[in-house]
Amino acid sequence: MTKKLTGDNIFKVLAAVMAASAAVILIINAYILITGSTLILQQEGINFLIGKNWNPVIGRESFGVLPFVMGTLVTSSIALLIGVPLSLGIAIFLVEMAPKAVKVPISYLVELLAAVPSVIFGLWGLFILRFWVQNYVETPLNTYLGWFPLFSGTPLGLDFFTAGIILAIMIIPTVASVSREVLTAVPDSIREGAYSIGATKWEVIRHWVLSYGRSGIFGAVILGLGRAVGETMAVTMVIGNAPNAMPTSLFSPGQTLPSLIANGFLEAPTPLEKSAYIGAGLVLLLISLIINIVAHVMVTRVLKVKGGAVE
């Protein structure tokens, strides 16, 4: 039963080591976040999760991350609401309609969008997009629909809404590229069958193609959501960084968990405050984990495609 050290075996071991490293990194990460945040969790207890006050002034300390959790969820939701329909439109057009001469350059452009560093999106958001949003979207909405709580307040262009739009643009390449791959993988026999029973193009896409690829598309959306939840630089630059701002209006400045950490962590003067930022990182990790678990359950249980056919 001696084992020969063949190339294949060495390769297998190497690959296994690489695979294991992903798990190890996650475990080390979680370990450091948990040990780093014990101080704040002992001090604040459950208040850390549900408290609305973040006050680092020495002698008046109170650390609650709820406003930032809400900020993260609000901006990510706006990003999905705007970004997913756009991305799906891009993917459907590229796979089902575009002639080859258009298909290739547009695919490249969409993927190039993913290569733009987030700080560039942030700068563009801060110096250009902000004023478009403020002058052409927020001010009219605020003037005519200001009675509606979502559109109340003073539109400054540095708020949840602008941050959501920036995030929407940033998730488009991810969602569009993955959706395109998913739609390309839908067998042509499905389309041919559908056309043969007299379906229109819209019906084929709506009832057969999208239905066939929906678990893949859902996966693409979750990838996009993951990016939106964790995006730091661009959001920090356009969200207005108001402390303790529970999102009351789309047009109010606020913060997300990543922007909170980016702003404060480096120079946190006391161990308690430092621990509070690490705790915020732990909450962010938990949110990502929950999103991924829910996504996994959705994909495997709810959206299961049976035998490649439409239900």
Binding site: M1, K3, N9, K12, V13, A16, V17, A19, A20, S21, V24, I28, N53, W54, N55, P56, V57, I58, G59, R60, L126, F127, R130, T154, L156, L158, T236, G240, N241, A242, P243, N244, P253, Q255, A262, N263, G264, L266, E267, A268, P269
Partner: protein, 397 residues
Amino acid sequence: MKTMYTVAAAIVAIVIIIGGVFAYTALQTPAATPTPTPSTNPTQTPTSSPSASPSVSPTSSAPVTLNGAGATFPQPFLNATIVHYTTNIKPSVQINYQGVGSGQGVSSFTSKTVDFACSDAPLTATQREAAPNALHIPETIGAITVAYNLPGVSSELKLTGEIIANIYLGTITNWNDPAIAAINSGVTLPDHAITTVHRSDNSGTTNWFTKYLCLVSSAWDNDVGSGTSVQWPGGLGAAGNANVAATISQTQYSVGYIELAYALQNGVPVAAIQNAAGNFVLPSLESTTAAAQSLPSSGLPSGSESWENVVLLNTSGEQAYPIVTPTYMLLYQELNVIPGMTLDKATQLVQYVWYVVHDGQALAPALEYASLPANLVALNEETLNSITFNGQHLTTH
């Protein structure tokens, strides 16, 4: 069987990785062998001062690298002194300064990974305990301005400390508030809501600005307090002086606090603020210097004592600007506590700091920092002369 081998190999790899991480942390904790840049490596080419490398004069000792980190507030001034010193005075010395912020500077200083640090705020009692025998060396003095963006208002705006506090508290919400109008007769103030801008990161500037607001407004003192970061009642936040300046200049009807140099660079108008003598004073080199003059000639702490009570806010001078702050260099009194320190390096370090507080001060006014008054220079001389390496006093100049 194959899977058994694979799993075994993966486990071994994980153990090696984790072991490596812990071994690394274990080596780090005694602070005995950190891995800063090699201090006496002639092949290392200086990045900031190209003239330093090849043309080392034969008489001078081997090249020495001094590393510092900390506040961004004095960074323009420090950079100027470094360039001048390493080009014209000591080409054999290379000095690196990283503007990472006061807080990070103090923690690098405490963990002894830098040779010197800079901080806007003096060390607190707890910080002094963590870094025994730390010395404060006031290096320069600057002003914090209240800058504003008021379209259609070209004349200069006057504000009092209490009005500024009330604006930030949210009790004054409109530019044409009677309190503002009363001291700005002749200025047509717009009927528009005020947007406040503050620092979103931990900042020495915020620390001094909120300390000033505590001095002039009991409401601010009760409701908010002071610190490097506070619970702002509202408004927009931006990270760093430069971003606050940009936010003010881009946001109509906004007001915010920034250091003088940043206000001048960005061309944002700044308010004249009422000082303790009742005069409205614009921030300038002169009014900053006037505030610095009011430091008591005696009774200042020595370099090794606490500087927490040395405050240049709301000083009594007739023409003194009310929001003025000193900024400090931090050094250890016995330099052998820093790993890799040699007698030569310690001497070079002390001589550089000696230069900063003497001839280097000539570079400050051009950058809108006030030169140190004579009593502080004398105090710094005493402090620098007290520095030792292995108990041996150093040639300071």
